[in-house]
């Protein structure tokens, strides 16, 4: 069984946010909910300034604090290492959200005035793929699941597929010859906030 992980190349990321758009579309995310975000930081002082782009998403930690905090068992880890949220079991207590050091989770607020999750508009791709309709429940906590539906079909996550510079590299961390494994090994891959002891399966290279 694979152990899915991801590597981000900070040198390759150009901050185009195509990954963010692809994720929103693929996952039919409501307004203000993001599973992936590319943060920007301005570095240096005038005249020597530059911008650094730092993509982020759920790190699918080996020692996920969100899973430990969840009182209902809604958060669980699949055999392939993807940390999932069972919408049927989630009670919306947000214990997972305050336990995640990476602020990777979002609560889908109850829609106001019965306008639905998309403000009265049709959900994107609802007509094209009925399997995507009504995927999210108001009042529950959601997060990136590495596009598990795509992964189960042998595809890569939407953000990886769409990245024009191949700054996102997805693969099996248990396969020593997979692209992410080689990159982590040869390019000194580092985990975000390692002092939090969550053992994330997302690494950063090229710094």
């Amino acid at each position: 069984m694979a152990r899915w992980g991801m590597v981000f190349s900070l040198a390759r990321c150009i901050g185009c946010n195509a990954c963010v758009v692809a994720c929103k579309t693929e996952n039919e995310l409501p307004d203000s909910i993001f599973f992936t975000r590319t943060f920007v930081e301005e570095v240096g002082t005038f005249p020597e300034v530059s911008r650094a782009y730092v993509p982020t998403l759920c790190n699918h930690c080996e020692d996920a604090p969100c899973e430990k905090a969840c009182p209902s068992g809604a958060t669980y880890t699949r055999e392939d290492g993807i940390v999932m949220v069972d919408q049927d079991r989630c009670i919306g207590c947000s214990a997972c959200a305050v336990a995640c050091p990476y602020d990777a989770r979002s609560m889908i607020e109850q829609p106001k005035e019965n306008r639905g999750l998309f403000g009265g508009a049709k959900a994107p791709a609802r007509d094209a793929d009925p399997d995507k309709s009504d995927r999210w429940r108001a009042g529950t906590v959601v997060k990136c699941d590495f596009c598990s539906r795509r992964v189960d079909k042998g595809l890569s996550p939407a953000c990886v597929a769409v990245c024009p510079t191949e700054a996102r590299i997805f693969g099996d961390l248990d396969d020593a010859e997979s692209a992410p494994s080689r990159l982590i090994r040869t390019r000194n891959g580092a985990q975000p906030l390692p002092e939090k002891n969550t053992r994330p399966k997302v690494f950063y290279i090229d710094y």
Partner: protein, 296 residues
């Protein structure tokens, strides 16, 4: 302040306030701890009407605000399912035992022993009250996500505030009389004074730990002491909530109006602490990973 700033919801690297646990959660925490604290203080007399009061404060106030906060309240019973790893589940089980054993113990007292096994229910209720008074602190501290919460002082804060709140409320109830207690507890004013003093030490320790902790903890501490939450923290939590009761009780004020002033101050400070400690919780920016610096 140099380094990453507060960035709200923007796509910038920096510190973000946690906003998942809000005023309704803070209120649930407050009522849960206060009720259990009042129950434990009432056990010293013992006074079954005040035991019932404590049970009602926890049994009604806490679930009311928890259900207000929950995204799917009709499924909230599921919160009891993972005591093996979740402090929320453990606390909920504690509340169930606290409520059940508490009612039976109060019933045994009220009926002069017609309800059997009164001593057993007393012990179970006390142990369960201990869980209710502390589990919320453990729930806050067990994850490293919010640095200022991630300290062994959080469960101690929960316990101290619960007992202090219970003692403060008891000061007023004792003063009111109305047959709630057979005889006043002579040490209660001194005990409340001692608990207020302990809270002062607690806050000093909390700030000391935060200022010597991670950058996120330091930022939270600065927000409390010098930032946007300083008026609420220094003025209400510390000033009204601790200094005022210390002065009133320390100067020997034992009249009912003085007791009310001390109690209102302490309870107000208690509630303000619950709200403000949630408000200053921050997520640290992910850029500080290993040896990585952002590219230049």
């Amino acid at each position: 302040m140099t380094g990453p700033a507060m960035v709200g919801d923007s796509f910038r690297l920096g510190y973000r306030f946690q906003r998942h646990w809000d005023v309704s959660m803070a209120s649930a925490f407050f009522f849960g701890e206060l009720g259990a604290g009042l129950f434990v203080v009432a056990m010293l007399y013992p006074s079954w009407p005040v035991l019932i009061m404590g049970l009602l404060i926890t049994g009604i106030g806490k679930p009311w605000f928890h259900l207000t906060h929950m995204g799917v309240p009709n499924k909230s019973w599921r919160a009891i399912l993972r005591p093996d790893r979740s402090w929320t589940s453990r606390g909920l089980i504690g509340i169930v035992f606290f409520s059940g054993a508490g009612v039976l113990y109060a019933g045994a007292l009220a009926t002069d022993g017609l309800v059997p096994l009164g001593d057993v229910w007393r012990v179970v209720a006390f142990l369960a009250a201990l869980v209710v008074m502390t589990y919320q602190g453990f729930a806050m501290s067990h994850s490293t996500a919010i640095a200022i919460w991630s300290t062994a002082l959080m469960p101690i804060a929960s316990l101290l505030y619960a007992l202090a709140g219970g003692a403060a409320l008891m000061l007023v109830l004792e003063g009111v009389g109305a047959g709630l207690v057979h005889a006043p507890l002579a040490v209660l004013p001194a005990a409340t004074l001692g608990l207020a003093g302990a809270l002062l030490v607690l806050h000093a320790s909390l700030l000391h730990a935060a200022y010597n902790g991670t950058p996120g903890a330091k930022l939270s501490a600065r927000l409390l002491v010098r930032g946007r939450y300083a008026p609420a923290y220094l003025g209400v939590v510390v000033g009204v909530g601790i200094a005022l009761p210390l002065v009133v009780l320390g100067l020997g004020g034992d009249s009912l109006p003085m007791r009310i002033v001390a109690a209102v101050g302490l309870l107000g400070g208690f509630y303000a602490f619950r709200v403000v400690i949630f408000k200053v919780g921050v997520y640290e920016p992910v850029m500080r990973f290993g040896g990585i610096r952002t590219p230049r």
